[in-house]
Amino acid sequence: MSESIQPDVTVDSRGATCPGPLMDLIGKVKKLEPGTVVELLTTDSSSSHDVPEWVDKAGHETLDVVEHEDEGYWSVFIETTK
């Protein structure tokens, strides 16, 4: 599924530890229109689990979480709903 997802916005938080990636994502999401697809790049494994938790709680939608094993990072795709 992820190969067909074309993000409108990419947030590159690779290198940042928890809660940096989520803080970066929240800061960006607050400025976006509903229906915007965002790809968050993170090297922090806990964020790959924790970010979808926040996304669901905040009422947005997690589209996919893709691990890039060779490169050592994750792509978390979300779509804003409000």
Partner: protein, 132 residues
């Protein structure tokens, strides 16, 4: 319950980081948070302490300090960032400052105001109080 009122007394790095992380994400998620930094917790924000990174820490704190290739934000940085994203206020304990003859200028600029205990309890009366 309409948020969290965190009484931060500890100067231990792990506790400071945990408070910074939780307060930051809560506030950024529009959950109101007040932090009342008192005693050792206030001194953790002293500018000279921050510059020297002279913090009591255990195994996890030492691992944080020694981690290479990681961009780890410190507790005051997470709090400062969160204040721009959501309802987060930080108050310095007046008693602690008076005992040391300090003013807010001696501390990181994250503080909103100076409060006594009664003032903080007024802020905290509709929140879940957490003591760290």
């Amino acid at each position: 319950m309409t948020g969290y009122a965190i009484v931060l007394e500890s100067a231990r790095l792990e506790r400071l980081q945990a408070v910074g992380n939780i307060a930051a994400i809560a506030a950024a998620s529009e959950v109101p948070v007040d932090i009342f930094a008192t005693m050792g917790g206030l001194e953790a924000f002293d500018k000279e302490r921050i510059a020297s990174m002279d913090y009591e820490m255990g195994e996890v704190g030492q691992a944080m300090m020694q981690a290479e290739g990681m961009d780890m934000a410190m507790f005051y940085e997470n709090i400062a960032q969160a204040k721009e994203l959501g309802p987060l206020s930080v108050y310095a304990c007046e008693l602690s400052m008076d005992m040391l003859g300090k003013s807010l200028d001696d501390y990181h600029e994250v503080f909103d105001d100076v409060l006594g205990v009664s003032g903080f309890l007024t802020h905290a009366e509709d929140k879940q109080v957490i003591f760290v």
